[in-house]
Assembly symmetry: C2
Homo-oligomer: 114 residues x 2
DNA sequence: ACGTCATATCCATAAATCATGAATTATGGA
DNA sequence: TCCATAATTCATGATTTATGGATATGACGT
């Protein structure tokens, strides 16, 4: 992940509809959601959502897949990882004590996870 | 962290000078950097950088502290944590298998850290 | 008090971004 | 082939954002 890609990713998440859509897809996990369902859930017009999804696509934060008439979208884990890695890159290498508690907090609490 | 704060944070990081400044501060850790040093390192005009730092401040991603004539800036770990937590919120709760590898990859490898 | 250095703020202009409506492509069923 | 549905693309006007010059604040040394 380079500076330009990271900027594109952060920029993509800096708009309400896109951030909401992305979080929806993160929650949906491997199941994903169709463009129409996302539009319905967020109460946004179809073309507006479509434009926003394509921004997320270009940013590498979501993937999509045609299923008949429906186009299903998924959060792209690799894209997220790249973005977050870029942000924290030298934090971990240079200043472990800054990075460690941050990671710990993100990790699931109380064994809820895995 | 609510939607509005998260949007402000992502928006703050979606501009090159600000993203560079923030990463610089992440690397600097507890030492922080003066506004002037940041401007020098990034080769940006003083007033432009000042405006950008104030955006990062408002977004809760950096803190600052006056030291005589100099104003020293620091990455705000709590702010970062809030932003990332918001982004991954229901990923962890709802779909552990999506979240876990992401966290693992961010965690320092090979015991380099801590 | 004065000069100077380090930052911040104000203001105007240039540039980027966003939601919308209209038109378009692609798919599946009758 | 014709129609309806799902989604995208395009052009536009409105809003937002970035930048640079000038100016203001605040702190230090003399």
């Amino acid at each position: 992940m380079d500076m330009t890609s990271a900027l594109t990713a952060f920029s993509a998440l800096s708009q309400q509809t896109r951030l909401e859509a992305f979080r929806l897809l993160v929650t949906a996990g491997d199941t994903g959601m169709s463009a129409g369902d996302i539009a319905g859930a967020l109460d946004v017009r179809q073309n507006t959502l479509s434009a926003n999804l394509s921004v997320l696509l270009q940013a590498g934060l979501v993937r999509n897949q045609r299923e008949g008439r429906v186009i299903r979208y998924f959060a792209d884990t690799d894209g997220m990882r790249g973005m977050l890695g870029f942000l924290l890159e030298d934090c971990c290498g240079g200043q472990p004590e800054l990075c460690q508690p941050l990671i710990e907090d993100l990790t699931c609490r109380e064994g809820e996870c895995a």
